[in-house]
Symmetry: D3
Subunit: 64 residues, 6 copies
Amino acid sequence: MVVLKVTLLEGRSLEKKRELVKRLTEVASRILYEPHEEVRVILYEVCKDQWAAGGVLLSDKEGA
Amino acid sequence: MVVLKVTLLEGRSLEKKRELVKRLTEVASRILYEPHEEVRVILYEVCKDQWAAGGVLLSDKEGA
Amino acid sequence: MVVLKVTLLEGRSLEKKRELVKRLTEVASRILYEPHEEVRVILYEVCKDQWAAGGVLLSDKEGA
Amino acid sequence: MVVLKVTLLEGRSLEKKRELVKRLTEVASRILYEPHEEVRVILYEVCKDQWAAGGVLLSDKEGA
Amino acid sequence: MVVLKVTLLEGRSLEKKRELVKRLTEVASRILYEPHEEVRVILYEVCKDQWAAGGVLLSDKEGA
Amino acid sequence: MVVLKVTLLEGRSLEKKRELVKRLTEVASRILYEPHEEVRVILYEVCKDQWAAGGVLLSDKEGA
């Protein structure tokens, strides 16, 4: 079993998420010799006011 | 101190959550000899388009 | 690189979050000798019915 | 699927861990109506110098 | 920025890890339009007595 | 209650960890109005071959 937790900004389309989990699963399955079904992906989507780099919220960087 | 993070599909009733944290706390407290108050439970509820098994989002499996 | 994940109750003002990530980043940067930009902070905000101490949801403690 | 991540102090016996994952799985399976096999438990064991409460590492509290 | 946390069994070779982070980064970067450098991968390697499926530690399943 | 999980490279001295958890706790307590004792910090230390930026393990960057 492999669990991938992906922390990303919210707002991606369903199509993007669909492709992302498909491709990540293929990569993990192929390299780690794990059956597809044993690869689980959890998308943890965060807002721009819940994420900071360099001490500044992403929502504040937007306004810059 | 013990921290339990439970990742589960969203949509459970308050009653279910209430029972879940109560029982998980009892089990952890009893087996690990930790006081009840030192067991913390965090429920991380995810949508069906944030969780994939076998490379397919749960929201897509529904339609199958 | 340093990643700080802060699990806290939802409902803090934007101003509070802004100050929190700023100060946490300063502390981590100064003590760990990491450039500011290499300190990333993720705020994981949870509701009162997603968090329990002593086997009781915080939302149930409120009513006590 | 349900994923339980348990953060606990290292040093528990294999027997304790065995019982813990068994009982936690039973509880989660029963309350959430998930098949046993769909409940995954990950034990994240930390040392006393990797955990702090009140700003003091557990390893420093020992000496008190 | 994207953070991928991969929980996997310990014991993979350095070569495997190297390829895994390279390919996961390429996938996330391409699909999410994030610069390579903004994709961070953390491998969280666990032992067989820290992971359970169906209420049974992986270390106990081995002996079956 | 506030839980801070800090993911950092292993190899910091006990003195550094001690100061880090002390200062992070002070900041979180002061800004979020939480009692010191309700701020918990977990240090998650990773090796250089468990962390990648830009698709390259930190252990491989060293050799560059």
